[in-house]
Symmetry: C2
Subunit: 228 residues, 2 copies
């Protein structure tokens, strides 16, 4: 069968669509979402729209106070640092434990080869396999809660990405090489080195994002132009 069918409730369906619109940049940061707007857009009753909005608020994608209109969360430089540091915390410990068992997840290898394969195209094409690479590492330890936590971080990372999508921040070859080295370090059991390399890997991505979103001057002036 082609994809498991899903009898989702209306609330879930609307929440899923809103989530998608946030991740694709259709709904930009700071944009307001009134209950009546959502209700009329999807032609449902206001309580239904309300429930959808509150679902996304619980996920952390929307923000709202009592009696105030919900807004798409705004991710400033401090949020980006918080997100990427949280990623580093989760993932570096994962790398240590994978290295302890010398367990290289096949999905991660696959995802990284896809990064190597795409030579050009839209600058955001690398995001999907990149996220899949990191998720494969996380999922490899088989901890349900860790995977859930990391996925919520990935959602926020995607929001950061669409926010600066006009810039080509990402050097596919560099990303591929660093991933490759991380996998090699896991295979040879060097957990500390893998964790440290990951720290640099994420730290670099983080600072480029911060510079691109918070920079006063043009980003090409603030960033190192070449990274090979």
């Amino acid at each position: 069968m082609a994809g498991r069918i899903a009898a989702v409730s209306i609330v879930e369906a609307i929440a899923a669509d809103l989530r998608n619109r946030i991740f694709t940049g259709d709904l930009v940061s700071g944009q307001t979402l009134t209950e009546t707007d959502v209700a009329s857009t999807y032609e449902v009753a206001r309580p239904t729209a309300k429930a959808s909005i509150e679902k996304l608020v619980a996920e952390g994608l929307l923000d709202r106070g009592t009696h105030k209109t919900a807004r798409v969360i705004e991710l400033g430089p401090e949020s980006v640092r918080d997100i990427y540091l949280a990623r580093a915390y989760l993932e570096s410990e994962v790398l240590r434990r994978l290295a302890r068992d010398k367990a290289v997840p096949g999905d991660a290898v696959l995802a990284n080869s896809e990064i190597a394969a795409l030579q050009s195209g839209a600058p955001l094409d690398v995001v999907e396999p990149d996220m899949r690479f990191h998720l494969s590492l996380i999922d490899a330890v088989g901890n349900e809660r860790i995977s859930r936590m990391y996925r919520s971080l990935v959602g926020e990372v995607r929001m950061c990405m669409v926010r600066v999508q006009s810039l080509h921040l990402l050097d596919n070859a560099l990303i591929h090489n660093e991933h490759q080295r991380i996998l090699e370090l896991i295979e040879s059991g060097q957990g500390d080195a893998a964790a440290q390399l990951l720290d640099e890997h994420l730290g670099r991505a983080r600072e480029r994002l911060v510079a691109a979103m918070g920079g006063t001057a043009g980003p090409e002036a603030a960033l190192p132009s070449t990274l090979d």
Copy 2:
């Protein structure tokens, strides 16, 4: 001022009370919570009760499928392992980074001294300062998302505790000593050793919980009787 005032909505207030009743064991694992029950208990309309229930479902404290009654989640041995391993992942990396800065959080010292102070009392009295000790370490790195994640884990740990509260699983002196050694290792910059000790600390607690809840024979036979 003595505590910021909070004008919480009815939904939030009910959710908070239900959460409290879950943590105190008033609502036991597996117990069903129909919307009408909650509505009549708190004398509110059903949609309000529904929203409260869905809030707790989003937090992971209740579980429910479409058209099915919500139940308090049941934490079996595999869940306990998942929770404690997730704790270890988060916290051991935190210890490494604290050790790197040789930063011993004052709140953690305080919480541990409270553990030393209580010599007797209810067996669960140690849980609160124990959780506070670990939370202090987590909060010390100042990462909002990591703190949030850990707090959700702490909630589940509390549920585990009330589930086996009849047994005295906890040796206050042992806990205090291990905490103390962890703090010392942070102070001397030995991150790896601190992380490893934490692993043992959490691993022991986890296995005792698992044995207590899943053991076929009486727990005093399955567990090492003394731990000094």
